[in-house]
C-alpha cells in the first residue's frame, strides 16, 4: 500500500474477466503518519481505508471488464462491515465479484481477508463514465501495469 498516493492495492493476484472475479493483495505499511493519529500507541488500519481497498479492488474488475474504455467512480457503499482490527504489517487479500452490470453503473461485492479469515466486506456501487481525459486513461493504464493487471490482454 502507498497511503501517500492512495494506491491501496500492491498487486492483482488473479483476474477472471469472464467469470467477473478478481483477487488483490496488499500489505499494510508498518510505518505511517496515519498511525500516529489512528491511534497514538495503538496503531490500527482505519476502516475507511479498508473500504478504499475494497473499492479499488472491484474498481479494477470493472475497468478490466470494460477494457479500459470507462472509469468506475465510487458513488455508494452498502452493508459495509469491519469484522476485526487490522494492524500495521498485516498481509491482506481482497476478493471482488460483480453483483450487477447496469447501464452506466456497476455494483460489486468485495471481501477482505487476513490469513484466510474475513476482516471486512461491502457492496459497492460505481457510476461508470468515460475517462475525463486521454491523459487520465493513460495514467490509469500505467498504474494497472505496475500492479500486474494484464493490460495488454484487456485494453480495447
Amino acid at each position: 500500500m502507498r497511503f501517500e498516493y492512495f494506491q491501496m492495492i500492491d498487486r492483482i493476484a488473479a483476474l477472471d474477466v469472464g467469470g467477473r472475479w478478481i483477487r488483490s493483495v496488499c500489505t499494510v505499511p508498518r510505518e505511517s503518519t496515519i498511525f500516529e493519529g489512528h491511534f497514538p500507541t495503538y496503531p490500527l488500519m482505519p476502516g475507511v481505508l479498508l473500504l478504499e481497498c475494497m473499492a479499488q479492488t472491484c474498481g479494477w474488475l470493472v475497468t478490466a471488464i470494460n477494457g479500459f474504455t470507462a472509469m468506475p467512480f465510487l458513488v455508494g457503499v452498502k452493508e459495509a462491515k469491519f469484522r476485526t482490527p487490522v494492524f500495521p504489517g498485516d498481509e491482506l487479500e481482497f476478493e471482488g465479484k460483480m453483483v450487477h452490470e447496469g447501464s452506466g453503473y456497476a455494483v460489486g461485492g468485495c471481501e477482505g481477508r487476513r490469513q484466510g479469515k474475513s476482516v471486512c466486506e461491502a457492496q459497492i456501487t460505481y457510476r461508470v463514465m468515460t475517462f475525463p481525459s486521454p491523459e487520465f486513461r493513460k495514467a490509469l493504464i500505467e498504474w494497472a501495469e505496475r500492479i500486474d493487471v494484464p493490460v495488454a490482454e484487456l485494453v480495447k
Binding site: G76, G102, S103, R127
Partner: protein
C-alpha cells in the same frame, strides 16, 4: 394501474423512503418525487434485478441530452413502466 407500475412504485417507496400513496402513474420521478441521480441508480439496480432487465440509462440520457426525447418519456412512472414492459417483452422474444 399495471402490475409493473405497482412493483416500480414499491421499489421507489422502499428505496427513497417516499410514502407509497404519493407515488402515482403520472408522477415524474425527478420533477415530482425529487429523486436525485444517485437514488435513481439504486432504483435502476432494483428494477434491473426485479425484472431481469437492463434499463438503458445511458441511451436515455443521451437521447434527452440530444433533444431527441424528453425526460417525461422515461421518468414519468407510467411511461417508465411501459418501457420496462417493452424490455421484458424484448427479452422473451
Amino acid at each position: 394501474m399495471s402490475a409493473t407500475f405497482d412493483k416500480v412504485a414499491d421499489i421507489i417507496a422502499e428505496t427513497c423512503d417516499i410514502p407509497r400513496e404519493n407515488i402515482k402513474p403520472e408522477s415524474h420521478a425527478i420533477n415530482d418525487l425529487e429523486i436525485d441521480s444517485l437514488d435513481f441508480l439504486d432504483i435502476a439496480f432494483a428494477i434491473d434485478k426485479t425484472f431481469g432487465i437492463k434499463l438503458p440509462l445511458e441511451q436515455w440520457t443521451q437521447e434527452v441530452n440530444d433533444g431527441k426525447a424528453t425526460t417525461d418519456q422515461y421518468f414519468v412512472l407510467s411511461n417508465l413502466s411501459e418501457q420496462i414492459d417493452k424490455l421484458i417483452a424484448a427479452k422473451g422474444a
